[in-house]
């Protein structure tokens, strides 16, 4: 529990008590408090610490941009490789200077005199600064390792073919894995239509020993010939492909026209069908009415017949009766 305020209150009461008793108060004139002694060691150590902190802040600030290799895809801040190199160089320089400074400090402090506790303290201070520097270096090296790994992978991808034979031990396992790796990468980047073509050089190279990655760009004449042949082949393939593509294009255009005509016709038929539906509906209505009327007609017919028959029968009976009566 924090009783600092309580303590300060106690100090105040005692001060007032002392004033009441007339005890001299030498503390009153001290406005700024006791000045800290100028101590070269401490100042130097703090400087080194400050530098390391600045380096750390700088690294952390630009960490996101530094590690963003897919910069064209997103809108997080980007950084070119040149800038990255600059950061690497700068950071390394600062780290070297800092470690030199620390070493120098160590040597100096051994020679400096002071109580054993003071010496122990100084040693420990330097150890702490060193471990702080180490942790910041770790941040830097982690970032750098990621970047280097990425760069290597990019370089591996950007090699189109398999390089010259390197007669070494047979490395079937890694060989296949590198092929699979190349296949995967290439299939991702290039279009699918190329994959069929890709298989041809792959299968031919299966018997070869895979490339040894080197920065050396000198190619022997054999390699040149092979490359040229491959280039010519690729060129021809690509040409034939383009022609096929053109033909397909024209066919597609014609199909499009035909389809337009079809759509017209279909629309006409649509209209006709609409008309026919409405007519049919009208017809059904009429037919219904007609049925009604016919039924009525039949009924009336039946009625008339009944009445007619009745009339005739009554008339004939009356005639017969009259005939009989008159005779």
């Amino acid at each position: 529990m924090d009783i600092t305020t309580l303590f300060k209150a106690c100090v105040k009461t005692i001060r007032t008590r002392n004033k009441a008793f007339g005890v001299a108060d030498t503390d009153k004139n001290r406005i700024f408090g006791t000045r800290t002694q100028r101590n070269e060691f401490n100042i130097g150590a703090k400087e080194v610490l400050g530098q390391i902190t600045r380096l750390r802040d700088f690294l952390l600030e630009h960490r996101k941009a530094y590690l963003n290799f897919a910069s064209h895809l997103s809108d997080i801040p980007q950084m070119t490789d040149v800038e990255r190199d600059k950061i690497d160089l700068g950071a390394q320089r600062i780290m070297n200077t800092c470690s030199h400074l620390i070493q120098e400090f160590k040597k100096v402090s051994y020679k400096m005199d002071g109580s054993p506790q003071l010496l122990e303290h100084r040693e420990a201070v330097l150890d702490l600064v060193e471990s702080y520097l180490k942790s910041v270096c770790k941040i830097y090296s982690q970032q750098r390792a990621i970047r280097v790994k990425w760069a290597l992978e990019m370089q591996k991808i950007s090699k189109l073919g398999i390089d010259s034979k390197r007669n070494g031990d047979s490395r079937a396992v890694s060989h296949n894995s590198s092929d699979i790796f190349l296949n995967d990468k290439k299939n991702d980047i290039l279009s699918d239509s190329n994959s069929g073509q890709r298989k041809v050089p792959e299968t031919s190279s299966n018997t070869d020993v895979p490339a040894f990655f080197s920065d050396d760009d000198q190619l022997s004449s054999e390699e040149m010939q092979m490359f040229e042949a491959e280039n010519a082949q690729l060129y021809n393939e690509l040409n034939s492909l383009t022609e096929e593509v053109k033909q397909i294009e024209s066919k597609v255009v014609r199909i499009a026209e035909l389809q337009e005509i079809f759509t017209e016709k279909v629309l006409q038929q649509d209209k006709d069908i609409d008309r026919i539906t409405s007519t049919v509906i009208g017809t059904t209505e009429n037919v219904k009415d007609a049925n009604e009327q016919i039924r009525q007609a039949i009924q009336r017919n039946a009625g008339y017949r009944v009445w007619t028959l009745f009339f005739f029968i009554v008339m004939s009976f009356s005639l017969i009766f009259l005939h009989w009566y008159n005779d």
Binding site: M1, D2, I3, T4, L6, F7, K8, C10, V11, T13, I14, R15, N18, T26, D27, R30, G33, T34, T36, Q37, N39, N42, L49, I52, T53, R56, L60, G114, S115, P116, Q117, L118, E120, H121, A124, V125, D127, L128, V129, S131, Y132, S135, V136, K138, I139, R166, G168, D169, R171, S174, S177, S178, F181, P210, F212, F213
Partner: protein, 636 residues
């Protein structure tokens, strides 16, 4: 849930961070400071924070308060000490000689108003008031050895030991001061935990006094609104720890169970404490390094730290000793196999290094290499660990063999479980010169005496004669006799029921493996689970069952506004989930282990119980016997 020990570590770390809460940053800038502690502070810090961690937190120098110190400019100094007159005087001297530039004063228990004013006067006189940055009361006046165990004093522990409390000519003022110390420390425990417990204690002894005082103190603090010690629950834990229930504090007096401290032990931790004097999680072991040119065996002492950072220790500290030996064997086997793997890797790498490796092969191998390199320090650590445990275990084994502790243990277990039988064997054991040194025999006899119902005078005299011929000190006996007369032993005939051991055959897997631990001649005893009296009492009180033992225990609840008559039965009917057991007069690892087993046994149920074990001091059997002997001497 955050344990007591972790809370204490958190408080200490915050203090070391110049009383500011710590922030997590990636590679933080170190702030240098100097740590100054007194003996009490040293005891508190040493089991919790290692020197390496202190360095990591920026402590460049750590010194005792009362040593000669030199001025070190421009660095803040963190003080961690008790607010006694002596310490305050020394701090005043430091002010006068202007040793440091900024002072952060942390007092282990709260400083009184009067002393604070004295300190202020000293600071004014030395004109360094502006340099005193912070003054803190840290309520940390207890030593936590494990996650669930704490005790009060290590150095100066005689002041509050069993002897001091039960002495014949103890004055009231001395008793008061002892009680005050105990209550102060218990209060710190609860301030660190941040909860107010419900208190229960038996009647009529020191435990009752402690309970009353603690209750009064907690009430005062709760009524004092300026104080916010117990309202920081949600703030400090961030809502993670939020139990609706308050814990139960059970204060017991040593007199409830006198046999357990003298008992011969069989678990790893308890054996280390008993035989090798495990103090503050550290043992000093003698190991035979080799033959010196003079012909005698060279003996080197080695200090081993046995604490929570040691994985093997945490797993096996409660297991019986044969299990520990087997486990060490297993670890050794594992280590050997991993070593083989690394060696194999080196061989394959060696072959490949002759020719130029393809790049992809290199990446494959570098992956394996990095994993091997990363695991190498782990392997080395493991080896060191296994080495250390082998030394410790073999030292213990030597003691066991020389004093035949296994037979003694077996016998005591039998005695404690079925007191009526086995009268005859004790005579043999007492007269056998091989079975342990005189202290062991004394312990054995006292346990036998306590657990058996009645022994006729003639038999008693015979035993006494046998003990005397074996060279034992008889004073503890007289004290125990008096204690037995006072205690209501007739009412509790079966205190230790359910114990006992069963012997696993000597031709166990261990011997057949041809291990380095030659355990022949040491019986492979496996302890059956049983509950010591303390555990039983805790169980009953937590489950709110009443038995004749716990019927008339007093009940205190500091949160209740009215001071109710504490002999009433408690209002709260739900069983408690958390309990803190405090033993006034000395505790030991056996009870702690028993409580741990008990909670583990209960853990399968609907809710898990947590029991924290505390004691005023931690005594092993030797120390306890000495205290009894002093008490016995007084009787004459």
């Amino acid at each position: 849930m955050v344990t007591l020990r972790e809370k204490q570590i958190g408080a200490l770390k915050q203090m070391l961070n110049l009383n500011q809460p710590q922030t997590k940053t990636l590679a933080g800038e170190p702030v240098w400071k100097i740590l100054i502690y007194d003996r009490c502070g040293q005891d508190i810090i040493s089991p919790l924070i290692s020197i390496k961690e202190l360095r990591e937190m920026g402590v460049t120098l750590h010194v005792q308060l009362h040593s000669d110190r030199d001025p070190i400019p421009d660095v803040p100094a963190v003080y961690f000490c008790l607010p006694t007159e002596e310490n305050l005087g020394r701090i005043g001297q430091d002010f006068q000689s202007n040793l440091y530039d900024a002072y952060y004063l942390n007092f282990i228990s709260p400083i009184s108003r009067q002393r604070l004013e004295d300190l202020a006067a000293a600071a004014l006189q030395a004109n360094c008031v502006s340099q005193i940055q912070k003054v803190f009361d840290q309520y940390l006046n207890f030593i936590s050895l494990e996650d669930n165990m704490f005790f009060l004093k290590h150095q100066n522990s005689e002041a509050i030991s069993y002897y001091a409390i039960n002495r014949g000519e103890i004055k009231d003022t001395e008793m008061e001061s002892i009680m005050d110390t105990i209550v102060d420390s218990l209060f710190s425990v609860f301030a660190t935990l941040g909860t107010i417990p419900v208190i229960r204690c038996p009647r009529g002894n020191a435990a009752e006094m402690v309970a009353e005082k603690l209750d009064k103190k907690l009430r005062e603090i709760l009524r004092d609104t300026r104080n916010n010690l117990f309202q920081m629950d949600s703030a400090s834990h961030g809502g993670v720890h939020f139990s609706f229930q308050r814990p139960l504090l059970i204060i017991l007096d040593r007199n409830v169970d006198m046999a357990t401290p003298l008992h011969h032990t069989w678990t790893y931790q308890a054996l280390a404490h008993d035989v090798l004097d495990l103090t503050l999680n550290r043992v000093v072991v003698e190991e035979n390094v080799g033959r010196s040119p003079g012909g005698g065996a060279k003996v080197k002492t080695r200090a081993c730290d046995l604490d929570s950072r040691d994985r093997f220790w945490m797993a096996h500290k409660g297991s019986p000793f044969p299990t520990v030996a087997e486990a060490i064997q297993e670890e050794l086997e594992q280590y050997r196999s991993s070593e083989e793997e690394v060696k194999k890797l080196k061989a394959t790498m060696g072959i490949d290094n002759e020719s130029e490796a393809a790049f992809s092969m290199v990446t494959d191998n570098t992956a394996r290499l990095t994993s091997a390199v990363n695991s190498l320090p782990q392997l080395l650590d493991k080896k060191k660990l296994i080495d250390m445990h082998t030394t410790v275990a073999s030292a213990i084994l030597n003691y066991i063999k020389s004093r035949r502790l296994d037979t003694l243990f077996e016998f005591e277990e039998k005695v404690m479980s079925k007191p009526a039988t086995l009268d005859r064997n004790i005579m043999e054991l007492l007269t056998d010169p091989d079975a342990g040194n005189p202290e062991d025999k004394m312990r054995l006899f006292i346990i036998f005496y306590i657990c058996s119902h009645s022994i006729s005078e003639a038999e008693f005299d015979r035993y006494v004669a046998a003990l005397q011929s074996a060279g034992c000190d008889l004073h503890p006996l007289s004290y125990i006799k008096r204690w037995k007369a006072y205690a209501k032993m007739a009412a509790t005939p079966n205190q230790y029921v359910g114990g006992g051991t069963k012997t696993v055959g000597m031709f166990s897997k261990l011997v057949s493996q041809g291990s380095s631990f030659v355990m022949e001649g040491v019986k492979n005893l496996v302890v059956k689970r049983h509950n010591l009296p303390v555990t039983r009492i805790v169980d009953e009180l937590m489950e709110m069952n009443t038995s004749q033992e716990t019927e008339d225990y007093r009940y205190f609840d500091p949160k209740q506004l009215r001071v109710t008559d504490s002999s009433q039965s408690p209002r709260n009917r739900t069983p408690f989930q958390e309990a803190i057991v405090f033993m006034v007069g000395g505790g030991n690892y056996i009870e702690y282990q028993n409580l741990l087993d008990f909670t583990k046994g209960k853990a399968g149920g609907s809710t898990s119980k947590r029991v924290i074990y505390g004691a005023s001091t931690l005594n092993n059997a030797k120390q306890f016997l000495k205290q009894l002997s002093l008490l016995g001497q007084e009787l004459h």
